[in-house]
């Protein structure tokens, strides 16, 4: 009798620990997932096609410093930044810098025409139906995410940057 009572106690307390632990644990993790992205947070994963139809994921670049830039042909500061990113990409490529420019769900011809005009060599990714843009909680364009090699966000820049700004930020990113 005493033994079975003990077993019941232990079983119930373990069940409480498991269920309670799970319930409390999920709220703790949900806290960091919710709300807009912040510096130090984890950027949402994406899986997008580039202009050649290759699938690229953010996780492909783990261990490398990554610049994720959201752009559109309809946004003049984005257009101005694109060749600047090209120069920065050429400058820092050897240090392992990755530039991923995600187009804001425009159509193929528009993107192709634009890219050919500026001869861009870094991957241009095609968002579909604003899905990735939404998962990043974008409010205005351009927005650029500087991601550390450990996969956390080092800096978020909303709005256009001068080439010197970009250079400075990338330098900071590479030192991390």
């Amino acid at each position: 009798m005493r033994k079975s009572r003990k077993t019941v106690q232990v079983v119930i307390l373990i069940a409480v620990l498991l269920i309670g632990g799970y319930a409390i644990g999920t709220t703790l993790f949900a806290d960091s997932d919710k709300g807009p992205l912040r510096e130090g947070g984890t950027p949402p994963a994406f899986e997008l096609a580039d202009l050649d139809g290759n699938i690229r994921q953010l996780s492909d670049y783990e261990g490398k410093p990554v610049v994720v830039n959201f752009w559109g042909t309809f946004c003049p500061p984005c257009v101005k930044e694109m060749p600047e990113f090209e120069r920065q990409y050429q400058k820092w490529q050897d240090k392992g810098l990755v530039v991923l420019a995600i187009n804001l769900s425009e159509d193929t011809l528009t993107v192709n025409n634009f890219v050919h005009r500026f001869e861009l060599n870094y991957p241009i990714l095609r968002d579909v139906n604003r899905k990735t843009e939404r998962s990043y909680g974008l409010k205005s364009y351009p927005t650029t995410f500087f991601i550390k090699p450990d996969g956390s966000i080092a800096e978020i820049k909303v709005g256009g940057m001068t080439e010197a700004d970009i250079d400075e930020r990338i330098e900071r990113l590479l030192q991390l």
Partner: protein
């Protein structure tokens, strides 16, 4: 087993530590002198709670903590108080769309808003400590119930019929009498009367136990089972895929994926109807009062190519429904409610023709969607190569054509046209599908010479494909809801069992010719006394029910 306290009753029964009334004969154990004459404490029939042990270890201490009703009440009060804190300002999850709580609360409510946000009260009900409180209440509910229901069950299922005289005479309803004649016969007659009142009667010589509605004692525990189910269902909502509350916006004719699901929803048409003036009362005349919002929705499931960004997902229709307010589309726990709408029209495609101005021949029509059009259109002897397109055409600061947005507000197309009478290398032709843009940007002037040779134009509104409106749908899923209902039903059944029936018991023993009768119930003492007095009257003893009252609270 070594017991520190001697808990052996004079009847020879060995009781557990914490026992108030002997489990066998009912004699009060270890009592202070000043309470010796008062009616007995009959809670849980005087048995020890399971957790009452003489030398508790760590597990016992944790167990004892949760087994305490006092702690349970503190937990419940604390939960109520903190739940109130969550109602001061709107919670984060009541906002739709992109909003930054860090900014919003401070901007809207000032410093208190900022503090409110910093304390995490903007998501009170999802916070770890609130969920923690719920978990503790749940634990307390299980342990409190278990610790009391099992001993109570044992006590009630093996009741001794002949009780100690002290036990009988210290009940709240007591009757003493001297019986003339055969005591055995009297007991039998009295038992028969109680049976007619619905009691189960057990006899042991001249001792008698009559009992009624014992099941009502299980009511509170069934109620607790319901509450625990309810609580588990609420906690289960944090399991991925158990609960969803999101919004999708669907222009007429478009098919949009419902975020984080394999489902796509198409709006075939959104309709809004307003009341006519004659249908409205005077003071509302002239105002737009909606009569009907309706979305003709089709729900699809993705069958293949779902996660692949390069492939078009292959969709299979699963259901369709005309969604109106309070009549959502339902499919396997997924519900799509009419939420909002937007009446801004959007141009999707045109079907223009090409006119050879020299011969007057008309070629086409051809399909020209605003997005991702075919790169080449062959029309009779003419070939149109799409060179560029713009969604909202404008001339940029550098004098080059550009687009101001990605929505087809002022679309423009540049074709390279080859054909009879044209340069074999192709001549550029600029085409604005909307008449207002044609005029604004002077299409014919831009096109110069080629404008005299060919024209691309749309014949009639039949050849224009546009979305009149967008519908906004609220997508909800709550797999926990059926369990919440089951819990609520259990809880209700338990509540009814415990409230509408009372557990009544009557003990009596006849020593010589002295009758001692005691009766106990958990509520409605008036009814208890009426039962006793009624049965006594039937066997020829007239007694005023009030005189049976032996004092004590709630008597």
């Amino acid at each position: 087993m070594s017991l520190i306290e001697n808990t052996k009753c004079e009847c020879g029964h060995q009781n557990a530590v914490g026992t108030v009334l002997c489990e066998s004969c009912g004699k009060p154990l270890e009592e202070q002198k000043d309470t010796a004459e008062l009616p007995l404490e009959m809670r849980y029939d005087g048995v020890a709670r399971r957790s009452q042990k003489s030398n508790p270890n760590v597990i016992d201490r944790v167990w004892n903590f949760f087994s305490s009703v006092k702690i349970a009440i503190y937990l419940i009060v604390l939960t109520f108080l903190t739940a109130m804190l969550g109602t001061i300002y709107p919670q984060e999850n009541t906002f739709v769309g992109n909003f930054d709580p860090a900014v919003y609360y401070e901007e809207t409510y000032g410093l208190t808003g900022k503090i409110y946000y910093m304390l995490g009260l903007t998501h009170t009900y999802e916070s770890w400590w609130f969920i923690g409180l719920l978990v503790m209440i749940g634990t307390s509910l299980v342990i409190c119930s278990l610790d009391r229901v099992l001993p109570l069950y044992r006590a009630l299922s093996k009741q001794q019929i002949r009780k100690h005289l002290q036990f009988i005479l210290r009940q709240k309803t007591v009757f003493k009498h001297t019986i003339e004649g055969d005591t055995g016969h009297w007991a039998e007659q009295f038992g028969a009367q109680l049976k007619r009142k619905g009691y189960r009667v057990h006899r042991d010589g001249t001792a008698l136990l009559a009992e009624k509605n014992r099941f009502s004692r299980w009511g509170p525990y069934i109620n607790h089972i319901g509450l625990i189910l309810f609580l588990l269902a609420i906690l289960a909502r944090s399991i991925p895929g158990f609960q969803m509350d999101t919004y999708v916006s669907v222009p007429d004719g478009d098919t949009v994926q419902i975020p984080d699901t394999n489902y796509y929803v198409k709006s075939e048409k959104f309709t809004v109807e307003f009341y006519k003036d004659e249908e409205l009362p005077d003071k509302l005349k002239g105002t737009a009062r909606a009569k009907l919002y309706e979305t003709k929705a089709v729900l699809y499931e993705c069958v293949s190519g779902c996660g692949d960004p390069t492939a078009k997902p292959e969709l299979r229709e699963v259901t369709r429904h005309d969604i109106v307010v309070n009549d959502p589309l339902k499919y396997k726990g997924l519900k799509l409610y009419q939420f909002d709408f937007d009446l801004t029209p959007r141009l999707n495609a045109v079907h223009p023709v090409l006119v050879d101005k020299k011969t007057g021949n008309v070629y086409g029509p051809f399909d020209l969607p605003m997005r991702d059009s075919a790169m080449q259109h062959k029309l009779g002897p003419f070939t149109l190569d799409l060179y560029a397109n713009y969604m909202e055409f404008a001339i940029g600061d550098n004098g080059e054509p550009t687009t101001l947005s990605r929505d087809p507000v002022a679309p423009a197309f540049i074709f390279s046209v080859k054909g009879p009478g044209l340069d074999p290398a192709g001549e550029p032709y600029m085409y604005f599908p909307m008449q207002k843009d044609k005029v604004k940007f002077a299409q014919d002037t831009i096109n110069k010479g080629i404008a005299d040779k060919i024209e691309i134009r749309v014949d009639g509104m039949d050849n224009v494909d546009f979305s009149e409106a967008s519908t906004h749908l609220n997508v909800r899923m709550d797999r926990a809801l059926p369990y919440v209902w089951v819990g609520a039903v259990f809880s209700m059944i338990g509540l009814l069992m415990g409230s509408y029936w009372q557990h009544r018991r009557i003990w009596l023993r006849i020593d010589g010719s002295e009758l001692s009768l005691g009766a106990h119930t958990n509520k409605n003492w008036y009814g208890m006394r009426a039962d006793v007095a009624g049965a006594l009257k039937k066997v020829g003893i007239a007694v005023d029910p009030k005189s049976l009252d032996n004092g004590g609270n709630n008597a």
